[in-house]
């Protein structure tokens, strides 16, 4: 790569993001199946970080709820 690392990484991420946006749904479900995950089940580990909350995010959302209650 002939550019600065931060510039190169952003360009690379953008290019790979386009690839992921164009990929068929089946590529994601079969990718999960290959890893032994079952994305059809509600609590699948494939959704870790997506359907659950990190402690930081939980605190931020609670703060937002508190502000709405106080307002």
């Amino acid at each position: 790569m002939s550019v600065r690392p931060d510039v190169g990484l952003e360009r690379l991420i953008h290019g790979l993001e386009q690839e992921l946006l164009e990929a068929a749904d089946e590529e994601f479900t079969s990718g999960a199946h290959d890893l032994g995950m079952n994305p059809e089940s509600k609590g699948s580990s494939a959704f870790m970080g997506v359907k659950d909350l990190s402690p930081q995010l939980l605190a931020a959302l609670r703060l937002r709820v508190k502000r709405n209650i106080d307002a």
Partner: protein
């Protein structure tokens, strides 16, 4: 009898659902869209400051769409729009960090001396932390595709800002070979995006 238990605050009793789950319930996205967005968030997470996780980035993007601060324009797919929101949140984080760093003039000046020798003359002043993270992540992405020399060449082309057609011509590949390399790259990205831990 006096209770020593701390009285729970009202906000702590309100059930909080992740914004991504709310969006799923509203049928804004499907389960498969969530998988796709997770892999994309993971990818963007590679160039995030260390105190921000890909999961925070993803949930923040959903929050902005759900609270109306970012409205999805008609005709734009929700997943593509959310990916764009993640990109802009990431840029915001780095801008904020840069402003904070500018309040440390001594460190910034010291860095400029080093940077001037290595950076391209036409580029704006780089953020040293961002530079370091990017160098490490480029290496990590290289390792991800290490068994696939064609994918490595495509990655190098993407990093140089070349289009798919330009990369294909530069590498002298047929469209079939190029598409098959892209499929392998997507498979590796999807596996990495769904496998790793939360950070």
């Amino acid at each position: 009898m006096r209770s020593y238990l701390k009285k729970a605050k009202t906000a702590e009793l309100v059930p909080v659902q992740p914004p991504a789950v709310q969006a799923l319930a509203l049928k804004l996205v499907s389960n498969c869209d969530l998988l796709r967005l997770k892999v994309i968030a993971r990818l963007h997470g590679r160039s995030l400051p260390p105190d921000v996780s890909w999961a925070d980035l993803l949930q923040e993007a959903f929050t902005r769409v759900l609270d109306g601060s970012r409205a999805i324009p008609a005709g734009v797919p929700a997943v593509a729009f959310l990916a764009g929101v993640m990109r802009s949140i990431k840029a915001e984080h780095w801008r904020r960090r840069r402003r904070a760093n500018e309040q440390q003039p001594v460190l910034a000046t010291e860095y400029q001396v080093v940077a001037a020798e290595t950076a391209e003359a036409c580029d704006t002043r780089p953020d040293p932390e961002r530079w370091l993270i990017a160098a490490q992540q480029l290496q990590a992405i290289g390792l991800l595709f290490a068994p696939d020399p064609v994918a490595l060449q495509i990655i190098s082309g993407l990093g140089d800002g070349l289009t798919a057609e330009e990369i294909r011509q530069t590498l002298g590949m047929t469209k079939t070979d190029y598409d098959s390399a892209r499929r392998r790259m997507r498979r590796a990205l999807i596996r990495a995006g769904l496998t790793m831990g939360v950070r």
